[in-house]
């Protein structure tokens, strides 16, 4: 007689289990739904387009202030005049300090991809393996004959082989793309534009300032322009990483290492392995390239990237630049 009871009990237990399971599933589904909603809201918050301030406050203050000033003249009231003056001034100031343009960092990053892809294609097609060498330009004020005027432009040379060589003055002056002696290609560095911007912002010509001066000023301007969260530059006397055998200039090279740590660069996504780009590891991102240009210009020496380490989360980029006196 006890058997049916136990069956009943087990049936009841089974039903209870099913019910609690259903409740748990329902609860979990609701929790997932809530989390998804929260996730959507957060996504919208993050992707919310950052616009320049519309200037509504400025215009409102300006209008009210002007009306108050007029009223103060009509009523000959000092208090109204002060209020009017204050509102007009702050309205004008709000409009004046509005930024001219504001571009999201991801846009900068995406615009750089196409040029790096092109460089990748060229290097792969020509099967060049050399490390890029930044060649400093002649100072702007230096006198040069007409046929050598192009030497005032910053260039970067990618040699066919991993040997540190520089093209002849004639080849550089002729603005040639494909170099014959030594074999390689000559292009404008990806960070040249950024370096010019740094010069304009600092009011400095890098060719007339010392390396120490540059190392002091560069991190400040880069963080000021919000291109990276932090930059550290160290001067090191290090071992020679460059292979200079076979070069006619090998006796003239005097290597010096400059260690640069870039934290949270705006261009960090260029190093993303999913993109499969090789040239950012060769030249560095436009920011790293701009630093190389600036170092080359300030030192008046050739600069190449000796080593380049990118952390797995892409947040820290470490680059060892090598200056070479040729």
């Amino acid at each position: 007689m006890t058997l049916p009871r136990t069956n009943e009990k087990s049936n009841n237990k089974g039903k209870n289990d099913e019910k609690s399971e259903e409740a748990t599933v329902e609860y979990l589904l609701k929790a997932i739904e809530d989390l998804q909603k929260q996730n959507e809201i957060l996504k919208r918050e993050v992707l919310k387009p950052k616009r320049t301030p519309s200037g509504k406050i400025g215009f409102t203050f300006l209008t009210i202030g002007a009306l108050m000033l007029l009223w103060s003249v009509l009523k000959t009231s000092t208090v109204l005049a002060f209020i009017g003056l204050g509102l007009t001034f702050w309205g004008a100031l709000f409009l004046f300090v509005r930024p001219v343009k504001f571009v999201r960092g991801t846009i900068l990053d995406s615009t750089a991809i196409s040029s790096y892809t092109t460089i990748d294609r060229i290097i792969q097609d020509l099967n060049y393996e050399g490390r890029p060498i930044y060649i400093p330009p002649y100072p702007k004020e230096a006198y040069l004959p007409e046929y050598l005027k192009n030497l005032k432009e910053m260039i970067v040379v990618i040699p066919a082989e991993d040997i540190l060589t520089v093209p002849t003055v004639d080849e550089m002056a002729k603005k040639q793309f494909l170099l014959k002696n030594p074999k390689g290609i000559c292009i404008a560095p990806p960070g040249f534009g950024l370096m010019s911007l740094f010069e304009n912002e600092l009011g400095l010509d890098f060719s007339s300032c010392s390396l120490e001066q540059l190392c002091n000023n560069l991190p400040a301007i880069i963080t000021e322009l919000a291109l990276a969260e932090q930059i550290e530059i160290f001067m090191e006397k290090g071992p020679v990483h460059a292979k200079v055998e076979g070069s006619i200039y090998k006796d003239l090279y005097q290597p010096d290492l400059i260690h640069v740590i870039i934290r949270d660069s705006i261009y960090k996504d260029l190093f993303n392995p999913e993109r499969g780009l090789k040239s950012p590891h060769l030249f560095g991102c436009p920011l790293a390239s701009a630093i190389a240009c600036a170092l080359s210009k300030a030192a008046g020496k050739l600069v190449t990237t000796a080593k380049n380490v990118v952390s797995s989360d892409l947040k820290t980029i470490e680059i060892w630049y090598q200056t070479l006196k040729a």
Partner: protein
């Protein structure tokens, strides 16, 4: 129908505004132009502060030249 403020009232107002802007500009100097979602041109703020400071100095000079 006259403007109710004298040049000395305006001078005092300019001095107060110049001090406020100069202090703000100094306090913002170590930061970048981006404060979260708020963006502003720090250089222009400094310029406005300096112009107001100079304007105040001009009114002081006027007071020296024309004491009454």
């Amino acid at each position: 129908m006259n403007f109710p403020l004298t040049i000395w009232d305006v001078s005092l107002w300019i001095a107060v505004m110049a001090i406020i802007l100069l202090i703000t500009s100094e306090l913002l100097a170590p930061y970048s132009n981006y404060f979260g979602d708020f963006v502003m041109e720090k250089k222009r703020l400094r310029l406005a502060a300096l112009v107001l400071g100079a304007a105040f100095m001009v009114t002081v000079l006027l007071r020296v030249v024309m004491p009454f």
